[in-house]
């Protein structure tokens, strides 16, 4: 069952097109990483899904309903980001009590244990927390509410590395205990990729890839070998990046357009290596010929 269905979705702010003709569907009960550079349109699409803003054109359905200002979708969804705010009259403990009052699947015990583990003082006020503590508290709030759709926008921002690793595991364990759809954005793809089922890559307001993580990674491949051996091959396929040094070429190419067997490549002395998910993201979203080296030439 599709939990989110976007058809030809566009959103512009004044003259700036934040999203352009996005069509995508997201299945229920998957952990999906939404990846994109700053300003790619990640927040815009999340805000539309959360029902905070209205699309300029096209449609977005969440749980088969229009999410805009819709209390039914709001009741089954939680949106966590660093702008989550609570009155400064409330202590963390008060906030948890309110959470329990609002969210029917709320896990009070778990919330206390997680905050205790992270060393957060329950009598503190939300605004007094440091950046990392704030992120920790917000993430705990998002997880224990157990909403069918949990949106985590940069949930680990400001957390130190040790606690980030812990909380990726916490997300996974909570997901195993109570499967739900989790959309998660992060600048640290490498850290979270193992818990993801799918990746949705957004660039310049468009979805440029949406695939299971492994398929996504296998989209591109790195070839390196003698320049003359590679030259023919590269002219036939799509090349994403290329460096030539001392007669040796290394190139990132589209796997689906490469019609040569691995054995044949090896026989020509060409080395094949796989890329990490974040490398694939980098090459898919980098501008034609964008290379930090170029600006120093």
């Amino acid at each position: 069952m599709n939990i989110i269905q976007c058809e030809d979705l566009s959103k512009s702010f004044g003259r700036r097109n934040a999203l352009q003709h996005v069509t995508c569907a997201i299945d229920a009960e998957k952990i999906i990483g939404i990846i994109g550079r700053n300003g790619a349109g990640k927040s815009t699409i999340l805000n539309i899904i959360a029902g905070y803003i209205k699309p300029t054109s096209g449609s977005c359905k969440v749980f088969n309903e229009n999410p805009f200002n819709n209390i039914q979708t709001a009741a089954n969804m939680i949106f966590i980001d660093d702008r989550l705010s609570f009155s400064d009259y409330l202590s963390l403990e008060d906030i948890l009590k309110f959470g329990a009052d609002f969210y029917p699947n709320w896990q009070s015990e778990l919330a206390y244990r997680m905050l205790d583990y992270a060393g957060l003082d329950l009598t503190a006020k939300h605004q007094q927390l440091s950046k990392g503590q704030l992120a920790t508290f917000n993430l705990v709030y998002g997880l224990v509410s157990r909403c069918a759709l949990t949106i985590l926008d940069e949930p680990m921002n400001g957390m130190d590395e040790a606690i980030r690793t812990d909380f990726y595991r916490a997300i996974l364990k909570e997901y195993l205990a109570f499967p739900r759809t989790i959309l998660i954005t992060s600048h640290h793809l490498q850290e979270m990729e193992s818990i993801l089922e799918e990746i949705l890559l957004i660039d310049k307001g468009s979805v440029i890839a949406h695939a299971p993580l492994d398929e996504f990674k296998e989209q591109l491949i790195s070839l390196s070998g003698p320049s003359d051996a590679l030259a023919d091959l590269l002219s036939e396929t799509e090349v994403y990046a290329q460096t030539i040094m001392a007669g040796m070429t290394s190139a990132i190419v589209d796997t689906s357009k490469l019609f040569v067997s691995e054995d044949l490549l090896r026989s020509k002395g060409i080395n094949i290596s796989h890329l990490t998910a974040s490398e694939v993201c980098k090459y898919l979203t980098s501008k034609e010929g964008s290379d930090i080296d170029a600006i120093f030439d």
Partner: protein, 124 residues
């Protein structure tokens, strides 16, 4: 359990390899129940769908079999089959490298075959 997953090989392949390794090492015996995808997910800190893919590979190779409602079990001949497969793979790869190296050294096909026969005789 701590197993380091490397980030370029697909995770499900690493899971399939790990399970095969467990079978060879007799930590998973014939007709014994294997880990569920959720147990694997917890063990390796990975998405359960990815773990499921790893199990599917072994299921497709008939190294595992399914019992309805009970889960997956190790096939009776799983260990031998894995061992045979590995032997074949390694031997093929070595032969490939041998042929390639002979080519680079401008050794003709006949010369290579003679060399192989000589080696075999020498070992007898």
């Amino acid at each position: 359990m701590h197993v380091h997953l490397d980030s370029t090989t697909p995770i499900y392949i690493q899971i399939a390899e790990w399970l095969q390794h467990e079978i060879i090492a007799d930590r998973l015996q014939a007709n014994e129940k294997v880990y569920s995808q959720y147990q694997l997910a917890e063990l390796f800190n990975i998405n359960p769908a990815t773990a499921g893919k790893g199990l599917t590979i072994l299921l497709d190779e008939q190294l595992l079999y399914k019992k309805r409602g009970l889960g997956m079990f190790v096939a009776t001949d799983a260990k031998e089959r894995i061992l045979t497969k590995r032997k074949n793979e390694i031997l093929t790869k070595m032969a490939q490298e041998l042929v390639l190296e002979a080519k680079r050294l401008l050794v003709s096909d006949d010369e290579l075959l003679v060399l192989i026969r000589k080696t075999q005789e020498g070992l007898k």
